[in-house]
Amino acid sequence: MKFEGRVIKYGDNIDTDVIIPARYLSTSDPSELAKHCMEDLDKTFVSRVQKGDILVGGKNFGCGSSREHAPIAIKASGISCVIAKTFARIFYRNAINIGLPILECAEAAEDISEGDHLIVDLSRGEITNVGKNRVYTAIPYPGFMQEIMKANGLIEKIRKEKEEESRK
């Protein structure tokens, strides 16, 4: 899995209340949620994000509530992948479960600037900064999580397993 895109960068402790404010949670429609993504932090996000862009954050990205609406809103806004120093744990598992690629890499999160052009190789955990001519390595996913990613999320994985079971 490879992604290429331009960077939109934020700081530490980006919480799920700013990723998608609670006042929009009376819907779970991804395209509706995407319209308000990052609204309370950066009103310009929605108008400037382009398909394939890569979101970069500092430490504890996605802290706060368990709302899956947060990674869903990010994914639906067109972001291809999120890189951060560290992720809050519920956000981490939600992103994996819904198939939003995320990478933890402190070096990359520090060195990358807003607007940089990146190529991300997910299976190898490799992030190439084209403009700065640098390569950072993140820890690749453990096999178990790669399986979820490959299946395009946890639900698909379980559905396939159920199907196979009933065929036996």
């Binding site: 819904i98 639900i155 379980i158 159920k162």
Partner: protein, 419 residues
């Protein structure tokens, strides 16, 4: 090497003798929880699996607490969708208006969690049940969907940080002050991915309500779960609320901890978290002059009977400051009734406070007390993020019920001795 409390519970539910930090396991679940915001997403995902029934009708709890009684048409639609699903699947522990309370106050009260359980909930404060010596953690809707179908969830086994509590808390100092103090000390990612284990002789000075408050906010330090050692108080609570069998797990002597903190409860002061992170804590004597517009006493952190009793003790015979709206929200129907029968409502209403039916309401900026631009609130809730309770230019100060009640009277943040 030995195992921590959490690791032992997880090992027993994964059907293995031993687990170690970082290991990925599949564990059997004793309870799966969802609320009115996260369950609709879970139902849609559940349908995609193609399962025609849930793994166990008694092991799923759905609580409609966030936007209920419904605040608008959209949330009414969402809740209707859940209600139909719950009926179709025969979900036993489905709590609608009139039965419901704030989920994390409700589940222990209904006896749905006992020591040694593994619980996941599509709500981050599911970690609250660690107060009972259970492993419980917040997950997302997809996890909930998968769990409703399979009765299992994947976990990365966490390492742990140990908090050795000693001494007795001073006057007015509560579980809220202790956990705010700890988060101020280690930061909002101080326990990222790990368990916070609370032990030591100081634990016996903490009521169950204090322990629920402390475990509730483990997530605000980034932790996967917070867990208390089981003692007589826990057992008494469990026997009073549940007839289910429970199992006590204790940490091995040689269990490994990333860090061990000693917390002397007698030196913990009344503590307030300033905007916009729970780690921005200050002792009450360093707060300065902070004028406020609203006080909210309630939520899964501090909406229990003991919290209301403390607030009433502070407010008795006094009046809410003319510039302040004070909103009090008992967390469950049972707490509501008990508070009413004890005469606490007379005290609140005579003081000029509003008492609401159970709901999360203002805690997440849903309804029942949203803040306008530039307004400041003292809340007994657990998050003071930007925009959490309303306008992005409003401010939330997190405090205990005692400090919140005193602040409502004074019109600015003060200690209960000052009113």
């Amino acid at each position: 090497m030995g195992m921590t409390m959490t690791q032992k519970i997880l090992a027993s539910h994964a059907g293995v003798d031993k687990v170690k930090p970082g290991q990925l396991i599949n564990a059997r679940l004793d309870m799966v929880l969802g609320n009115d915001i996260t369950t609709p997403v879970a139902i849609k995902e559940f349908r995609k699996i193609g399962a025609d029934r849930v793994f166990d009708m008694e092991k799923i709890a759905i609580v409609l607490d966030h936007f209920t009684p419904n605040k608008d048409i959209k949330s009414a639609q969402q809740v209707k969708f859940i209600r139909e699903f719950a009926r179709e699947m025969g979900i036993v522990n489905f709590f609608d208006v009139g039965q419901m309370g704030v989920e994390h106050a409700l589940l222990p009260e209904k006896g749905l969690v006992v020591p040694g359980d593994v619980v996941i909930g599509a709500d981050s404060h599911t970690c609250t049940y660690g107060a009972l010596g259970a492993f419980s953690t917040g997950v997302g809707s997809t996890d909930m969907a998968a769990a409703m179908a399979t009765g299992e969830a994947w976990f990365k086994v966490p390492g742990a940080i140990k908090f050795m509590l000693k001494g007795k808390p001073g006057e007015w100092v509560s579980g809220k002050d202790i956990i705010l103090h700890i988060i101020g000390m280690i930061g909002v990612d101080g326990a990222l991915y790990e368990s916070m284990e609370f032990t030591g002789e100081g634990v016996r000075h903490l009521s169950m309500d204090d322990r629920f408050t402390i475990a509730n906010m483990a997530i605000e330090a980034g932790a996967k779960n917070g867990i208390f050692e089981v003692d007589e108080k826990t057992i008494e609570y469990v026997k009073e609320h549940s007839s289910r069998e429970y199992k006590i797990f204790t940490a091995d002597e040689d269990a490994e901890y990333r860090e061990v903190y000693e917390v002397d409860l007698s030196s913990v002061k009344l503590t307030v978290a300033f905007p916009h992170l729970p780690e921005n804590t200050r002792a009450i004597d360093e707060v300065g002059d902070v004028k406020i517009d609203q006080v909210v006493i309630g939520s899964c952190t501090n909406g229990r009977l003991e919290d209301l009793r403390i607030a009433a003790k502070v407010m008795k015979g006094k009046k809410v400051h003319p510039n302040v709206r004070c909103i009090i929200i008992p967390a469950t129907q049972k707490i509501w009734k008990e508070a009413m029968n004890e005469g606490l409502f007379d005290i609140f209403i005579d003081a000029g406070a509003a008492v609401s039916t159970p709901t999360c309401g203002p805690c997440l900026g849903g309804h029942m007390g949203i803040l306008a631009e530039g307004e400041r609130a003292v809340a007994t809730t657990n998050r003071n993020f930007i925009g959490r309770m309303g306008h992005t230019a409003s401010e939330i100060y997190l405090a205990s019920p005692a400090v919140a009640a005193a602040s409502a009277i004074a019109g600015r943040i003060v200690s209960p001795d000052k009113v």
